[in-house]
Every structure is written in structure tokens, then in C-alpha cells.
């Protein structure tokens, strides 16, 4: 049943629209491009994590993204995970909003990001690394970690530039647990470029212009009590995105932990479909 629904969605996406998604290739870093107004994007983002001395896991989020206006994009995520030899759990939701304060393109374009999240301690989606997030957090059994409730406000300053086909993005992250814990900080940096800058005149799925390759670096910066790179995890992740002419985008990114506080290996995938002009007559 599940497989037939998936195949049906895939087929629908393939034939229903000629609009191409032009998605950011990043998984953690944000650039300054918002969803087109009126467009709805559905995405499924699985993540496999390898845990030293613990059980490997498969986490995932279902993402609903909507371009409310040309300067405001809103997204809802539902998170869950399965940990080997343990259990499968729903871990909570996140609601994010991105706002574009400027009307025109500049050398550096700011975006303001506000997210409220209500997840439990078993959440393993790793949408960002902040504070003192370390590998040992992932070894805690689901039965214990899911008892911990995390209601957090996450703020990001997103800076992004486009130069000669390259995108350079820098995100500065601040997270406040509403239970009164100190502010935690993190960062994400990304660089990406399409494999071809000019479009070919033919309709094609495998043209180089449809592929975007890049690299992202992300990690924690401690908290207000201990700011810095110590006792937190850092990751480096090459990535590739394939924007199909049928409004489907596929993304792949292996990540490697850069220090002993990081998970040794993550594999991220994403499958998204965009539906333009939802709600317009």
C-alpha cells in the first residue's frame, strides 16, 4: 500500500507540472532564496546515522514548505526516527519562518529565520548543531531520551551571496530552550554551484545545468557559559542536488564528523515535489 502511494505520488509529480524546482542543494545551511509565492513544496528527508558504541539510526522529517509571499516562507516539519535494536518514535514538530527584509539583491543578502520547535530528546534529525551537541547524545536509549521535552526558539541570521554562478551562504544560529537553559550557538557555511551555468536549448533531465554540487560545514559554538568549538560536534558534507524538469528535486549528502565529539558518518537524502500556485484562481 505504502509503496503504491509513493509510486503514485512520483508519477503524479512527473506528469503534473512543467515547473522546475530550483531548490537549495544544502541540507543544513540556508541561502537567501525563499519559496516562490503561492508554491507548496512537500519533502521527505531521511537521515542515516552511524553511532560508535551505540545503535545506528534512521531519522526522517516530512516537510511542508509554503511561499506565503515573495518575502515570507513558512515551513512545518514532522520528525521521527528508528533506532536499531530499540524502537521507532515520533519525536515532534518544528515550525519555521524565513523573512526577507530587503527588496533587492545585494552583495550579501540577509534573511531572518525564526523557528519554534517542540521535540523530545530522542529527535535525531540534526537540522542544526548547536551548543554542546555531541555524539554520546545519540547513544542514549529512546526509552529514556524521549522523556525529555525540548521546547525551543531557534533564531538564525542567514547571509547569502551569488557570485559568478557560485552561492556562498553563512548561517549564525542561536537557540533558546524555553525551560530557561542558556542560549546555545551554532553555525553553518555552504558553497555551491550548478555544473553548467547556461541552459541547453533541448529539454533534458540529465543536462549538467540540472545538477548543483556543493559543500557545507556545520557545527556547534557552545553556549553563553562556554562559547567556542570545544566539546561540540563539527561536520563536513559534500552534496549534490538534481533538479528535475518535473518539479522534483533529489538531494544526497554524506557527512563526516570532524572531531571525536561528532558522529563518524551521516548520510542524508531528500526527495521533494513542488506544486506551484496553490490557492490562486
Amino acid at each position: 500500500m505504502g509503496r503504491s502511494v509513493f509510486m503514485g505520488l512520483l508519477a503524479f509529480a512527473w506528469v503534473s507540472s512543467t515547473v522546475a524546482a530550483q531548490e537549495r542543494p544544502y541540507f543544513v545551511t540556508y541561502d537567501h532564496y525563499l519559496e516562490e509565492p503561492g508554491a507548496l513544496e512537500l519533502a521527505f528527508n531521511p537521515l542515516f546515522g552511524s553511532v560508535s558504541g551505540g545503535n545506528d539510526f534512521l531519522a526522517g522529517s516530512i516537510e511542508v514548505e509554503y511561499g506565503a509571499t515573495a518575502w515570507w516562507t513558512t515551513e512545518l516539519y514532522l520528525d521521527g526516527q528508528h533506532t536499531e535494536n530499540e524502537s521507532t518514535v515520533f519525536t515532534g514538530f518544528r515550525w519555521e519562518n524565513r523573512f526577507r527584509p530587503t527588496e533587492r539583491e545585494h552583495a550579501i543578502n540577509p534573511i531572518l529565520y525564526v523557528e519554534y520547535e517542540d521535540v523530545n530528546g530522542a529527535d535525531k534529525v540534526i537540522s542544526a548543531v548547536v551548543g554542546h551537541d555531541v555524539a554520546s547524545d545519540f547513544a542514549e536509549p529512546n526509552s529514556e531520551s524521549r522523556q525529555e521535552v525540548e521546547r525551543e526558539l531557534e533564531l538564525k541570521l542567514i547571509l547569502s551571496s551569488s557570485v559568478k554562478g557560485w552561492n556562498l551562504s553563512e548561517n549564525f544560529i542561536a537557540v533558546k530552550n524555553l525551560a530557561g537553559e542558556p542560549w546555545e550557538f551554532g553555525y553553518a557555511l555552504g558553497v555551491s554551484r550548478p555544473l553548467a551555468l547556461a541552459a541547453s536549448p533541448e529539454r533534458c533531465s540529465f543536462c549538467r545545468e540540472n545538477f548543483v554540487a556543493g559543500l557545507e560545514l556545520y557545527g556547534g559554538l557552545g553556549d553563553t557559559e562556554q562559547f567556542g568549538l570545544a566539546n561540540t560536534s563539527q561536520y563536513l558534507a559534500p552534496l549534490i542536488a538534481w533538479n528535475l524538469p518535473s518539479a522534483v528535486t533529489l538531494k544526497l549528502s554524506p557527512s563526516w564528523g570532524l572531531n571525536q565529539d561528532s558522529l563518524p558518518f551521516l548520510l542524508r537524502l531528500s526527495f521533494s515535489i513542488e506544486f506551484p500556485n496553490l490557492g490562486s484562481r
Partner: protein, 134 residues
């Protein structure tokens, strides 16, 4: 779980209310953007003007990124204004390129600098070709 249901319900409300904000704006407001193009940008010539493939590639890009709002022929868009009017067809290539790049965010047109510069010039070439056949 109850909080997740509340979040879904809230999101549906946001989607419903904001769809009205994404609807078509007055066309005069859109075309007025052309008057704000800096002289330096307006003076830029299309580097792909002599490229025989530019119009075809631009057409492909238009169908993928622009037709949903401006209409398949550029004339009867659901949200975007007509691109066949004199304001557009007599505009300098550099001015069209600048509007594609910067969008008209307050009027609902997103920035398209996410497309590499050669693709924006290809789009410009196609937009100019729309008027040539009339």
C-alpha cells in the same frame, strides 16, 4: 501528539490566509519597477544576443520558471502581468535582466538571481523575442 495536530491546524490557517496575499497585484505597480532600474544596469547589453541557442534555451527556462505566473505565451498570467505590452517589449535588455535578477518582492515577484547569470540573459533574449512575432 496534540501539539502536532495544533501545529498542522495552524499551518493550514497560515496557508489559507496567505494565499490571498500571493494573488495578482496591479500591473501598473509591476511595470513601474522598470523605472527604478539603475542607468548602469539598463545600459548592459545581452552578451548572448548573437547566440543562436539563447532564445530556445530561454524559452525552456521560461516554461519551467515563469509560465506558471505569466502564462504560457506571456500574455495571460494567473498572477504575473503580461509580458507582451510595450513597457516590456521596448525595455532595454539590461533593464529586463535587472528586473529578473531583483524581482519585485513587494509586488509578489521573487528574485531570480538563483538562476545563473547566463540563464537570466537567455530568459531576457526569449522575452524580447516574444514581441518580435507580433
Amino acid at each position: 501528539m496534540r501539539s502536532a495536530v495544533a501545529a498542522v491546524a495552524f499551518t493550514v490557517l497560515v496557508l489559507a490566509s496567505s494565499s490571498a496575499m500571493a494573488r495578482k497585484k496591479p500591473e501598473s505597480q509591476i511595470y513601474a519597477q522598470l523605472a527604478h532600474v539603475p542607468d548602469e544596469a539598463r545600459a548592459r547589453a545581452n552578451p548572448l544576443e548573437a547566440d543562436p541557442d539563447a532564445v530556445m534555451a530561454g524559452r525552456k527556462l521560461y516554461e519551467r520558471h515563469c509560465a506558471e505566473c505569466h502564462g504560457a505565451t506571456g500574455e495571460n498570467g494567473r498572477k504575473g502581468p503580461s509580458l507582451l505590452v510595450p513597457e516590456i517589449q521596448t525595455a532595454a535588455s539590461g533593464a529586463l535582466f535587472w528586473v529578473i535578477t531583483n524581482g519585485n518582492v513587494r509586488a509578489g515577484m521573487p528574485v531570480w538571481s538563483k538562476l545563473p547569470e547566463p540563464q537570466r540573459w537567455q530568459l531576457t533574449a526569449y522575452l524580447k523575442s516574444l514581441g518580435a512575432g507580433r
